[in-house]
Amino acid sequence: MLKFPKSAALAVLALTAFASPSLADGDADAGQKVFKKCAACHAVGDGAKHKVGPELNDVFGRTAGSAEGYKYSNAMSEAGQGGLVWDAETLSTYLAKPKDMIKGTKMAFAGLKKDDDIANVLAYLKTFSQETAAAPAAVETGKTPVETADAGAAVEAAPAAEMAVEKSQGAFGLGRKAMPDEIAAWDIDVRPDGTGLPEGRGTVAEGEPIFVENCAVCHGDFGEGAGRWPVLAGGQDTLRNDRPEKTIGSYWPYLSTVFDYVRRAMPFGNARSLSDDDVYALTAYLMYLNDIVDDEEFELSKDNFASVHLPNEANFIPDDRASEPHYAKGIEPCMSECKPGPVKITARAQVIDVTPEGEGDENSGGGID
C-alpha cells in the first residue's frame, strides 16, 4: 500500500541529497515507539489532521509556524518569519528542550532527554516527509489504516433515511425517538453511586504504562503536573494553606468523576481513544498515586468501584452564601461619613506587574507612567 506514491520518484534523489548524517543513525521503528509520547498531541501519516499540535507530514523542509490551518503561538510564527526551517538539526535542538529554543511555544512537552530517542523519532518522522520518504505505511496512532475507497463506501451504505424512524409523541410531534444504540453511544456519564459504569477492570500496574504514555506529558510521571497543567496527586492537608493544592486525593469528592472525565475528555486532544479497561486501569493508577491504595496489584472494576471513597468527600457543603453577614436582609447601605478618615491605598496592581502588555497601540496597557 503506497500512501505517498508521488514521493517514490523523489526518494532516491532525496535520500542522497538531503539525508543528514545525524539521522543516519536513527531507527525509524524505534522512533515509532518514541512517537507515542507525541501522539497525544500530534498526528502523522495518511489523512493526519491538526490536533493539539500541528500534523507532522512533511515537517522536514517546512518553515516553522507554517502548517496551514493550525493556530501557532506568536513565538513559533515569528520564528518561521525569521527564517527557521525544520530539518534534522533544528528539530534535534527543538526536541531536546522546546522552550529553550522557542520561548513562548505552545508545546507543553518538556523535551526528549535521550539523543537516541531524538534521532529515532526524527528518522520515523522523516518517513512521512515527501522530500525524503521511501513509501511509508500510514500510521495513525491507535487505529488500523483502512483503504479509503472501502471506508467511504461503507459510510455511504448506511444513510440516515434507512433508520427506523419513530416520531415523537409529544405535543408538537417534533423530533424522533432516540434508538438504544444512539443513547449508548453518547450516554457515558457515571455518577458517584456507580450508575453508568461500563463492564471492565484494570489494575494499578496496568495503569502505569498507560499513564506514562498518554498522560505524563502534561500531568508529570507522578501526577505532579508539568507547567500549568493540572496536578493530579499530592496536596494532602493543604486545603487550609495560603496556596492549597487541589488534587484528586486532596480535594475531589468522588472517584466517579475521575473515571467519567478521563473517559469523556482525556487524553487532551485525543478524547474517547481509551478502552473502558484502560480507564479502569488509569483510575486505579491515580488512586495509587494519591495513596488511596498501596498495592500495585489492586484491581478496580465495576463491582468494587462504588465502595471506594475519596478522603475529602465529607468536606463539601451546600451553597450558604445567603447566610454571610453582608447579605443580611434589610441592610441600608451607608451614604455619607462611611469611613472615619481619609481612605488609604493598601494594595496596587502596578506593584504586582502581571498585566499583559498592550499590542503596541497607545490606548491599551493602561498608560502607566
Binding site: R176, D187, Y254, I317, A347, G366, I368
Partner: protein, 427 residues
C-alpha cells in the same frame, strides 16, 4: 515633525492628537508653508480632506461588515500565564471600550475546555434521554419549529475576578471583570423540549452535555430547567458564533457561565446530580476552614466602573467627566448603583440608563465636574432582592482567599492628577 500641509497625509495621521500637536507647532507650520494661502483654524476643517474628496469603497467590498480600522485595539485579550494552553483557556471582553448593555458578538469573551468545535448544523443533533417517557433526537431544523423567545441575558464566568482574591493584581477592567458578556438570545424554552419528551415524576435533575472535545457536562436542577432556561441558536439576531457554541447552546439565566453548555448535544434527565468534573474539582468554592461550597450557581449582585479605568485613563484634564460602568445580578434587575469618588467615605446614586431587564447588564452613569484631584472610584450595586454588593474585605472575612469563584467585591480604581488610573485596594 508632522507635515500638516502635505495633502498626501495618511488617514491614520489625521487624528485629534495630531491636531493638538499642530496647535503647538502652528507658528512654524504656517511659516513653512509660506506662499500657500491658508485660512486660520483647524486644518481638519479649513482644508479639504481626502475622505471628503475621493470616493470610498462600494457596497460589494465588505459583505460582512467589520468595525472601523481605527477601532483595531477593541479586541478580546488573554492572560497567557493564567492557563497551560490557549486551547483550554479564556479571553476577556474589552469592557472599557464598550457602552450600552449589549456586547458585540465578536467581542464576547471565550472560555472553552477543548478548543472551538466546528460543527455543520446539518450534522448536529440534540438528544434527550434518561428519565423521560420517550427519548428523543432533534435536528436543528426540528428545533427551529418550536415556538421561540428573545431574551437579553448576561453570561458571567464564575471565575470572573478570581485573580483578585489576594489583592489587586491585573491593571484593567478587561482583565478584572471581562469574563462577562450580554446579548439577546433567540431560542426555544427548554421546557418545551422536556415536555415533548415527557419528564418522569422522579426526574429532578438535568445533565447538559456539549459535543466538543471536552464533552462539557453540568448538572442543573429540574426546577431551573423548567423555569427560564433557553436552548438558543441565535445571539444578537445572527447565528451563534462558533466560539459561543454554534449551532446550539444552553442559556441558564443568572447562573454561572460554565453551566451554559455550548455545542449542546444531549440533555439527560435523572434523579440525582452527576458530580461531573466541572462541579466538583472545579467551580466549587474552597473556604478558609477547608470546607468547599458546591452548587454555587447564582452570580451575585456586582458592578464595575468601566471608564475611567486603567485601560481607559482620563485624557482630557479637568472639567466634565463621564463616569460609567456596568451592574448586574443573577437574582433579577438592578435597583440602584451608588458611586464614590473618595474610596467609600461618601456615596452618590448614579443614573441608570437603558433597559433594565432581569439577569441582564445594566448601564450606569455619573456625570461629574472633575477638579483634577485624585479620585478613588468605586461602584456599589443593589439588586431588586435588596442584596448589596459587598466589599472585597467582607468577602475575604467570610470566605478566605482561596475561593477563586464568585468574587463580586467592590472594585477600586485610583485616578491620579494626570488622569492615569490604577487598580488598587483601600483601607
Amino acid at each position: 515633525m508632522v507635515d500638516i500641509t502635505d495633502p498626501k497625509r495618511t488617514k491614520q495621521a489625521a487624528s485629534r492628537r495630531d491636531f493638538l500637536k499642530a496647535g503647538l507647532l502652528g507658528g512654524a507650520a504656517v511659516a513653512a508653508s509660506a506662499g500657500v494661502a491658508r485660512a486660520a483654524g483647524d486644518p481638519l476643517i479649513t482644508e479639504i480632506q481626502d475622505w471628503n474628496r475621493y470616493l470610498g469603497e462600494g457596497v460589494d467590498v465588505a459583505p460582512y461588515g467589520k468595525p472601523s480600522e481605527f477601532e483595531a485595539n477593541v479586541v478580546r485579550r488573554n492572560v497567557p500565564w493564567l492557563t497551560a494552553d490557549p486551547v483550554s483557556s479564556i479571553n476577556f471582553t474589552p469592557l472599557h471600550e464598550l457602552d450600552g448593555i449589549i456586547t458585540p458578538n465578536g467581542l464576547c469573551f471565550e472560555r472553552h475546555h477543548g478548543g472551538t468545535a466546528i460543527i455543520n448544523p446539518a450534522d448536529h443533533r440534540l438528544m434527550i434521554n434518561g428519565l423521560v417517557d420517550t427519548p428523543l433526537v432533534f435536528t436543528m431544523e426540528d428545533l427551529k419549529r418550536f415556538p421561540r423567545e428573545n431574551r437579553v441575558y448576561f453570561l458571567e464566568c464564575a471565575a470572573n475576578g478570581g485573580m483578585e482574591w489576594r489583592g489587586s493584581q491585573l491593571n484593567g477592567c478587561q482583565f478584572t471583570h471581562g469574563m462577562i458578556h450580554c446579548v439577546v438570545y433567540t431560542g426555544v424554552p427548554l421546557r418545551y423540549l422536556l415536555e415533548e419528551a415527557g419528564v418522569k415524576t422522579n426526574g429532578k435533575w438535568l445533565l447538559a452535555e456539549g459535543a466538543d472535545a471536552s464533552a462539557m457536562t453540568r448538572s442543573i436542577p429540574m426546577e431551573k430547567a423548567l423555569d427560564d432556561c433557553l436552548v438558543a441558536f441565535k445571539m444578537n439576531g445572527e447565528a451563534l458564533r462558533p466560539e459561543q457554541g454554534y449551532p446550539l447552546r444552553l442559556c441558564v439565566p443568572g447562573w454561572e457561565g460554565n453551566m451554559w453548555v455550548k455545542w449542546l448535544r444531549r440533555l439527560e434527565v435523572g434523579d440525582e446530580p452527576w458530580a461531573q468534573r466541572e462541579e466538583t474539582s472545579k467551580y466549587t468554592d474552597l473556604l478558609a476552614n477547608g470546607k468547599a461550597r458546591r452548587h454555587t450557581w447564582v452570580m451575585d449582585v456586582k458592578s464595575v466602573i468601566t471608564s475611567p479605568s486603567p485601560q481607559a485613563p482620563v485624557t482630557h484634564g479637568k472639567g466634565p467627566l463621564v463616569i460609567t460602568g456596568l451592574a448586574w445580578s443573577g437574582n433579577g434587575t438592578i435597583k440602584r448603583v451608588d458611586v464614590t469618588l473618595d474610596g467609600g467615605r461618601t456615596w452618590q446614586t448614579a443614573r441608570l440608563d437603558g433597559p433594565s431587564l432581569p439577569k441582564a447588564l445594566h448601564r450606569f452613569y455619573l456625570d461629574i465636574n472633575w477638579d483634577g484631584s485624585e479620585l478613588l472610584l468605586q461602584s456599589r450595586a443593589i439588586d431588586d432582592q435588596g442584596l448589596v454588593q459587598p466589599t472585597k474585605n467582607e468577602l475575604r472575612a467570610a470566605r478566605g482567599e482561596n475561593s477563586i469563584y464568585h468574587n463580586n467585591g467592590i472594585q477600586t480604581w485610583h485616578v491620579n492628577n494626570d488622569g492615569v488610573v490604577e487598580n488598587v485596594e483601600v483601607s
